[in-house]
């Protein structure tokens, strides 16, 4: 599709300016919980004696923090977040989006250029300290925990006369029975069709496929095939050259039977 890869440059042409804001993790988590239209708070931009002051205030209903575990933490997220403004520097930062409206139709569009960088910092408050403490506690817990058990675990392996798995196995074997020698012609047909799919076969796999006893199968194989001892395909059987006519091979030999 020629559409793929084509970048929509409208944003770049308009020179849309955007802000790149670094936001703490807990705040983004709270924002993810926003409902409705997604309103999360208010941004206040003021000019105080020539300097721009930007501050973000989180909505009240979003300040509840869920901690890990069931109990509510009682910690609330701070509400005030002043922004620290930074310049972009020499770097050119552009913003592009990938839209996947329909399957396998990626639309790439250039949204704009970053004109201002900012960092969202929480205002230092009691709330924030508590929140941080909670976070640290959670992080400091080791991933693995050693626990002492009171009673030994006895549910795994009980001594029995014969284990369940073994019973199953024996039953299966009995039901299958010994492999019977089928007609040689049939076996040959099976073999040829198998060799049509793959060139090299292990003897075990062939036994599986044909369900013949090993010695009988080997006899037949000795007729029509060769046994590779060395090389990349070790210990595998393959058809004799005159019997095979693979696509890749030059000569096309008929399978003569």
């Amino acid at each position: 599709m020629s559409e793929k890869g084509e970048v929509d440059l409208t944003g770049a042409k308009q020179n849309t300016g955007v802000w790149l804001v670094k936001v703490p993790k807990y705040l983004s988590q709270q924002w993810a919980k926003a409902s409705g239209r997604g309103e999360v708070g208010k941004l206040r931009i003021g000019k105080n004696q020539g300097k721009a002051e930007v501050s973000f205030t989180l909505n009240e209903d979003l300040t509840m923090i869920d901690s890990l575990g069931d109990k509510p933490s009682g910690v609330r997220a701070p509400r005030d977040h002043p922004f620290t403004m930074q310049t972009v520097g020499g770097q050119t930062l552009a913003v592009f989006t990938e839209t996947q409206s329909e399957p396998s139709k990626d639309k790439i569009a250039l949204e704009g250029v970053v004109v201002q960088r900012a960092e969202c910092r929480p205002a230092a408050s009691d709330n924030y300290m508590k929140l941080k403490r909670l976070q640290i506690e959670e992080l400091s817990k080791p991933l693995r925990l050693s626990q002492q058990l009171e009673k030994a675990v006895t549910t795994n392996y009980k001594p029995v006369a014969n284990h369940y798995n073994n019973l199953e196995y024996e039953r299966k074997k009995k039901e299958e029975g010994k492999r019977a020698r089928a007609d040689k012609q049939q076996v040959l047909d099976m073999l040829f069709s198998a060799f049509e799919k793959h060139q090299y076969y292990n003897i075990k796999d062939l036994v599986d496929i044909t369900k013949q006893p090993v010695s009988y199968l080997k006899e037949i194989l000795r007729d029509i095939g060769i046994y590779n001892i060395k090389g990349t395909h070790k210990n595998t059987w393959e058809l004799k050259p005159e019997y095979r006519h693979y696509q890749g091979e030059e000569e096309a030999k008929e399978a003569d039977d």
Partner: protein, 540 residues
Amino acid sequence: MTSLGGSSSSSTEYTVRVPKNNSKKYSIMAFNSGDKVNCSTWTQARMERDMSNRRMYGGEETEEGAAGSEFGKKQREEARRKKFGIVTREFKVEDQPWILKINGKAGKRFKGQKKGGVTENASYYIFTQCPDGAFEAFPVNGWYNFVPQAKHRTLTAEEAEEEWGRRNKVVNHFSIMLQRRLREQERGPDDEDEEGEKGGKKKKKKKGARGGDLRIHDLEDDLELSSDESDSSREEGDNKPKKKESVAKGKGKKKKKKRGSDSEANEDSDDGDYEGLEVDYMSDESSSEEEAGEEKAKSNKEDGPKGIDEASDTEDESEEEKQNEEEGKEEEEEEEGKKTPVQMEKKKKRDSSGESDTSEDSDIDGEAASALFMKKRTPPKRGGGRGSGGSSRTGSRPGTPSIDSASTSNTLRAAASKLEQGKRQVLGGSSDSPAAKRLKMEPGSTATTTQSPAPSGKSTPQPPSGKSTPSSSDVQLTEEAVRRYLIRKPMTTKDLLKKFQTKRTGLSSEQTVNVLAQILKRLNPERKNVNDKMHFYLTE
């Protein structure tokens, strides 16, 4: 929007929204400040993922079908890998780099690699202002650092290492790429274009409007590369001797690559021009010649024999070299301080091998004397005079080359005196008998023009009865010398021997003894016993 008035501050409040359902995924495209990228100038852009790493992650298995495949091979391979603990990382499309092409095929190309760790501890949001004044914040999914991709030809790793090893010797770095290109030209089909291209146009940077075949296709990493590399490494072996000695004032030329697409097909990764070469001359002709001359000078600066070897390597090569030689020759005359290349040139033509690089050597052909010169570079004080000596050398010189006598002539001293002797003989006419088995044991003695021919049968030549002018710093074991010593003070034989050290006279100790004995017999000095030792002395 409410606006609050404050004393000295005024602020406006905006609502911030974080839209929930977003099919759009936002990412950052970061460019380096040095690249001076201005997005608004882009007329057209294409961007797609760079899938060249896919084969590393399991795409390697070729689905050949029946032939050559084994039953259950895949499972077996997987089981093997698990057993060994090999964990192959998955090929995630979202993590692959981007390839961004600006303004079509001829424009710039960028490769954007994903920067890791961006979303781990903090999230980035893009705040856009909506028409209604509210801000909308979108989370940033990924950060890609875009770097421009070089279209010009670069050195491979092996070549770069080789050049690094020569960085102390190479002054003209501009020629490095030129040499490389020439090497490839010899390898590839020789197009007329390539030859004509040597009269290159210079430019600082490759123009955008080139044939599209000069691109480095990352997306098409194929076998050509490997074969090319093996080619280049092979070629390097051939051309390693081609040293790039300093050529005056960086005459770097930039050549506009105008290869035919045939040659392109061979090496599609080696495109591009030289990097940042500066333009010195604006005329095509001279530049090409000079350049050819330069490189010829460079290659000529190499040992003479090497040059000949290379010339006989391939006809292409030799032909090119010859052609360059012609050009180079003219150029070399012009260039100042290029004496050595000129001499190399001359030497090359003369087909003398193994000559050292002094101009005097050019006069001497492969006689035994040349072997002499091999041993010592500049014969002492025999600067220009040898020219004549050499030419009129034929019969007056002792016929047997000095080298034959293995006995003593291997010392530098002997060699020097031999030369002198040769000269002397020329000047003084031929008085010695070439037929005599005049082994050069007594170079000093034979240096005399008035020598009496020594008795031929003897292996040790007799000291001349006549006076001999001793050569400069030699001490000749002559009767005169002995007489002088004995007059001055009585000496034992040991002392006398000490005086005539074998190193300085060029005789072996045995011969010294013999000769001294004869001298003493002739002189018949008086004997005196001092301290129980027999001293000789003479009274005049």
